[in-house]
Subunit: 152 residues, 2 copies
């Protein structure tokens, strides 16, 4: 079997391409960010994100079809039925992507003195980091990395 070179490959095989096609739009990650903060209702998304209702409808339905979100109805005593959106495991697993964005954004796009967001450990209240680890758990630099083409 001959060795596959990057140049020969249709880039659509790359998981980064695939992920971009699925969540690489203006709203998906921001909706999931709102979920991560605990918001669940249509109206919260709409007000917080200042997204138009028609687009939000489309996005939510699309994200449900991609298994990023689940829609559930619930009913409080004496109130009418409501709906809430919560993320699935697949959606929740986008947290690392969100935190990477957060990290990079904080480093390069936030000025000194400006208000921003950090992710902290609930217990220690200290900042968390996101990093690249080898199989023994040691942190790696980018320069220590290479890409390999494999079959899953």
């Amino acid at each position: 079997m001959e060795k596959l070179e990057f140049k020969d490959l249709d880039r659509t095989f790359c998981p980064v391409s695939k992920a971009m096609r699925e969540i690489g739009d203006r709203w998906t990650l921001l909706i999931l960010r709102e979920c991560f903060w605990g918001f669940k209702r249509f109206d919260d998304f709409q007000v917080n994100l200042k997204i138009s209702k028609s687009v939000l409808t489309t996005k939510l339905n699309h994200m449900i079809s991609l298994d990023l979100l689940e829609k559930q109805s619930y009913k409080e005593e004496g109130k009418r039925t409501r709906y809430e959106y919560t993320f699935t495991q697949k959606g929740k697993d986008l947290t690392k992507i969100m935190l990477s964005f957060l990290d990079w954004g904080n480093k390069y796009l936030v000025n000194e003195g400006e208000i921003t967001l950090k992710a902290i450990d609930k217990i220690s209240k200290k900042e968390v980091a996101i990093d690249i680890l080898d199989d023994s758990g040691k942190r790696l630099k980018y320069s220590a990395l290479e890409m390999k083409i494999v079959r899953k």
Copy 2:
């Protein structure tokens, strides 16, 4: 000083929003991926990504203006002057975002038996992971996280 609540905040303050505005388009991350693989020339990008030349020109110039890329000229003996694009530190620091996409894409968007890409340690040739760490270097679950509004 009163406590700031998420609901009160214009979402544009969020570094995730800011990052999305800067790199949340169809091409930027894919161009940086090609850089990460070692490609540097206009034509490589164009052929590999199947992007139209006019769009590529616009993107590259935009990315230079955002300080994600640098353009340099170089000259080999007896050949004419060529140009190459390499990423800046700011661009290089997007690697974690790329690896997060790679990780998530591999988990959810690649079927068994399909060709895909993994990031490995150059030395040990073993797969690397990307993870969330507390300040002592211990891995954290999402459920151990919370967000905090701070000033940089």
